[in-house]
């Protein structure tokens, strides 16, 4: 079972991560890896709340179905953090405003795509070393 520090706050990992909302979805891009992701409308609701870097406890408290979110949140944080889309907020750094508005957790699904990796993560003319990965260029 995943554990989460309820006081540790996370923020969207800008500027390495950019995103765009539209037509009931959000497209998220990690510029460092070249991977991009799609969030549906329900998942976007959670993503939007990450903009204010809330603590897990604050996020759960503001949610009308707190039990559902509490059960899923550790895995969601792990997934987002694993893809480099969120990063832990430095406890000694500036503390942004926390989310306070009520909302309902409708589920979370992160669709991942890698077919632009060669353009975003690595220009196609410079192939990466298959074991070391980018930015280690393949030895000719």
């Amino acid at each position: 079972m995943n554990c989460i520090n309820s006081a540790q706050r996370y923020r969207i990992n800008a500027p390495a991560v950019i995103y765009d909302r539209g037509a009931g979805q959000t497209v998220v891009i990690n510029l460092l890896t070249g991977h991009y992701f799609r969030l549906d409308e329900a998942s976007t609701a959670l993503w939007d709340r990450l903009e204010t870097a809330p603590s897990p406890a604050a996020l759960i408290d503001s949610c009308s179905n707190a039990g559902d979110l509490a059960a899923r949140l550790p895995a969601i944080v792990d997934e987002l953090h694993g893809h480099g889309l969120i990063t832990a907020v430095d406890a000694d750094g500036p503390q942004p405003e926390q989310a306070t508005g009520p909302w309902t957790f409708g589920g979370f699904a992160l669709e991942s795509f890698t077919d632009l990796e060669d353009i975003l993560g690595l220009d196609p003319i410079h192939e990466a070393d298959p074991t070391a990965g980018w930015p280690q260029a393949r030895v000719a």
Partner: protein, 362 residues
Amino acid sequence: MPAGPARLPAAGRHGPLRIAVCEAGPLTPDRDAGCRAVADLISAARGLGCDVLVGDESAGALPERVRSFFPDIVLLSRPGLFARLHGSLADVPAPKVFFAHDLHHVRLGLQRAFDPTLDPRAADVMRLVEDFCFRTADLAVVPTSAEARAAVTAFPGAAVVAVPYFAMPTEPRMPRPTGPTRLVFVGGAAHAPNRDGIAWFIREIWPGVRARYPRASLSVCGAWPPGLTAALQHPGVEFHGPLSETDLALVMRRSMVGIAPLRFGAGLKRKTLDYLSRGLPVVATEFGVEGLPQGVHGRDAAGVLVRSHPAEWIDAIDRLVGDAAAWHCLSREGHAFISASFSPALHREGIRSILVSLGVCP
């Protein structure tokens, strides 16, 4: 001792202008046109007397190397590198220039029509990335005026200029070759428009050319993996792999026609400029002549017969092979056009105009 170039001074301090040019990997100008454009830029900047740091991201610690160079300008090539590196160079007090090469999201959008395996969202995602690059950069540089206009429309607020990306050396105009008919294509398989274009040409056009000229051959010059060359095998088609400048010149001199059968793409096509600079007449699609300053969509360009359908291509090749006067006319026309529009001196002036517009030199 010969005098070096006059040193282009930095504004507001003593010493030459310092430019950090950053690429994702080692420069391989003999293998792809993008690297050639960056190599030409470096040569022009050095020709203007600038100090140039050539930064290769794959060698590691690039932000640190750029920072310790104390550049007056940081130039970041291609969207992937710009997007990755821009944040880590935020503390470097120098304008960041995005060397865009082309509008990738336009190219991906067009590619989708010919490549159903490409994710339908790819163009939109790339557009988002390019939006970041164009609007974050202090200046974005594209190869053609048409692309500059398109970029300003697509990314309001972006500062965009067009300069010639390539310095084409003045080559002597080649004589009309004798012997069996030979065609040449320059380009590697890593670039999707080349992959699609050469497959289309071999499938749809080459059998018709061979029917009229049974001894005809096609030289494909550039890096193509064995799997692809095996799939594209056809009588008369030869894959030479990447060639040195000397060997490429030899293949060009033996060729009657240069081809640019691109069905999608964006930006200036160096292969077309390369053929023309040697006096080699060209048959191309509209995408093969895209970006030429004269803007010739739908009709012939200087030194180029622009054709769309396979039957038109076969007739155009037939005309150049069978009509020596037409061949010489196009050869002269194309050669003169390149000398007048893509000389190293004009290219260097274009680079100087970037530096002046940024206010980093007088």
